[in-house]
Symmetry: C2
């Protein structure tokens, strides 16, 4: 596993961290997709390809102290369930909105990792004609899929349990391997929305 990671992401510090212990490898894996998306978004931002940011984690602040006049220290707060997806932004004028999830399973993606209010939010974005999707990584295969929310949502309501790995092979877009950026999802959006749709629109005229 570590060997595979070394080939795909030749980052010295990451590899060292991964090698320290098994537990750390697992915890490192837990945030790997998020890290890759953050790197990708920073790359898009730098090169003026797209503007996409991860939303801050919503927190309910209960107590704040002011040790000095200009410094506020939050001394009691709680995590709040987010009412939207984690990422949104803009690409060629269009609104992007997505969630990112990864699974250790080799056979299926469990729907339990997506919250119902995230699905509700993606539905709202679809109604507004935004580009709504979910990035799903199968860690075991080091594969990240772009899944249109329009395809995912009906199945979420139908099965409520999980989507077999095979489904992704047939219905989702595998994001091609790339070093910079690590998860080049804009490439898929170009194919789905800015090549096909434009051709289609032109053909209608």
């Amino acid at each position: 596993m570590v060997g595979e990671k070394m080939i795909k992401y030749p980052n010295g510090s990451k590899t060292t961290f991964n090698n320290q212990s098994n537990q750390q490898t697992t915890s490192r894996r837990g945030v790997a997709l998020e890290d890759d998306i953050n790197i990708t978004n920073a790359y898009y931002l730098d090169l003026d390809i797209a503007v996409v940011h991860k939303k801050p984690v919503p927190i309910q602040i209960v107590d704040v102290k002011y040790p000095t006049r200009n410094k506020a220290e939050i001394t009691r707060a709680y995590y709040v369930t987010p009412s939207t997806t984690d990422y949104n932004g803009v690409y060629k004028g269009r609104a992007l909105d997505f969630e990112a999830k990864q699974t250790n399973s080799k056979t299926s993606f469990p729907f339990s990792s997506i919250h119902d209010h995230q699905i509700q939010h993606l539905k709202k974005v679809i109604i507004q004609d935004g580009i709504a999707f979910v990035l799903i990584r199968f860690i075991a295969f080091n594969e990240t899929y772009y899944v249109c929310a329009k395809k995912l949502i009906p199945l979420y309501y139908k099965t409520r349990r999980s989507l077999p790995y095979k489904w992704f092979k047939e219905n989702a877009q595998l994001i091609p391997f790339s070093l910079t950026p690590p998860v080049d999802y804009i490439k898929i959006i170009d194919q789905l929305y800015f090549e096909r749709e434009w051709l289609y629109e032109r053909a209608k005229k």
Copy 2:
């Protein structure tokens, strides 16, 4: 002042709160625009007009305790300067991105209340052809203006100090008075982007 507010926003609880003391009226005023925008966004969301959310305040978490297995309590955290604007979302497929500010001044809007990184972010959104703007309320006149970021940013870099009230009268869009929703900024976006632009696009063909 309170009388004016009562006419425009006949909300019992708000008025009672405002009447309690002068200090509370001021502090209440401090969040009035934000509250009005939140009500407006909830209205847009309910009626499937637009999907716009306020981003959570970014916080750096330092210490977390787990009093019980499923409950996390944040015991030390700090506010972090946000790298984006406060609001974004989607309307008719287009990405919206904006900041909201209010001032007690009757003569000008001080640029000091907008952070440089928020201006940087709005620039990036403009490059991506998103709909970027700032909602600015002059509390004394109970007027809220829609200001195109494209118009505001060059002046921000030119003067760095403030924009006279007169400038808004001539260069910004006064958001018409409305009870539901209180700050109907989508109306301005319709005028600016979905009526004029479409007519223009059609005229070209």
